[in-house]
Symmetry: C2
Subunit: 282 residues, 2 copies
Amino acid sequence: MTCNSEIHILVSLDEKYLLPLEVMLTSLFQNNPGEQFVIHLVHSRIPAHRLEALGQGVAGAGHHLVPLVVDAELFGSAPTQDRFPQEMYYRLLAADILPAELDRVLYLDPDILVINPVRPLWDMDLQGRIYAAAAHTGKTEFANEVNRLRLGTDHNYYNSGVLLISLDTARQQVRAESIFAYIHDHEAQLLLPDQDILNGLYGSQVLAVEDAVWNYDARNYSSYLLRSGGDINENWILENTSILHFCGREKPWLSGYRYRFRVLYRHYMQLSRRMFAGAKST
Amino acid sequence: MTCNSEIHILVSLDEKYLLPLEVMLTSLFQNNPGEQFVIHLVHSRIPAHRLEALGQGVAGAGHHLVPLVVDAELFGSAPTQDRFPQEMYYRLLAADILPAELDRVLYLDPDILVINPVRPLWDMDLQGRIYAAAAHTGKTEFANEVNRLRLGTDHNYYNSGVLLISLDTARQQVRAESIFAYIHDHEAQLLLPDQDILNGLYGSQVLAVEDAVWNYDARNYSSYLLRSGGDINENWILENTSILHFCGREKPWLSGYRYRFRVLYRHYMQLSRRMFAGAKST
């Protein structure tokens, strides 16, 4: 066993997403044997007893949870709704929120299964960029084009659900005021708020990574398969994809989910119930 | 963590089944946290270097492999073929082959995924019977009836792929000579040789357990669903079934397998490649 450095994960969510978070963490731990994870959970109102139960589960698996409270009023009048809680913005301020000694963090959405090691992404050379992220090629080029026009950018439309962040670079280049101003100026046009800001303000500072490996859109099996000439099939995904992302409104932890990989997700829900058994009594 | 007694597993196979064996063991270990397993591998011709690699993987996961060699000529002229190697008979002689101090063992076929704890089966009171096993209710009652008539028995036709064995009771009641004689007398009629012998000779000594939990036939999703009035659906299985059995000719590790749970099996193949990484170089 080599002695690897700790991998720092950033998550940010409200209480409603604790269940998928547990599933995501279970899959992360199971599929990264030999790694030590520090999970930075940035939130504004998750009750203490739930954090405690979560922390016990993480510690039981040999990792470490660090909760961090952010003032719920931070984003004031920024657009939020049930599907887009305020917590989605926190990833953009990671450089301000996380400890100064931390130079890199991997942000992960909770609606994710990690099914292969994340070490290659964690160790990636960012070549001076702030972020590494993937654009969803599973969608049509047309959707990419629409988003480019909509935001007036000349790069791919990156998905903000998996974001490797150079905190050192972000501390020099990302300004909270710019983000607040961008929200203020574009409020009416923001469809996927945090993602639009990432692309609109910092899209040129993103190093593109392959979405089929690092941010596979679980809704788009057929598109990946077709666009790869049949290469990116189920076996390929299970052997090569590290991060399965269950984007969109339909979620595999809710009933009625009909997409591929549902069986896998449900199995990890069961593993998660075991790992976080203490959290269930709450 | 409670201090549980070790669980003794019996497997018996030839070299061709080492890959599925590794997948089965990976799933067994992953889904039984806190348990200590001793894996008794009874075989007649698996090369030493492959056993060594297997043993290293098992030890790396914190468990123990005990290989046991049986004379390849033991069953002489008993019917064997590619699909039914001689090793399938060894489970029937477990009481003679395994150490005298062992009083109980759980036999598992290699074409299995264990997705929930096996402890409740292991701790089961056998009520004086030699075996606990399940009949596949997923099949029609008709198939059961045909097998009853074919073997002249008046009980369910039990599947021999998951077999809890009371070695103490077997040492008193199972005679190797009876088995050899039964093979000799019925050679022409034996369709599923070891299973037919189990049912023909010792069927009345089997305690029936629920197949949906302990020996779910992965080919028969629709039958289970229909016969249970919709209760035994995918979610139920992932939460309640401990042993998924990929019976029959089509196997999920081969290409072209089209049944449900293929994604899950393929994911465990990947986990298994990691756990038995040492075995891959051979």
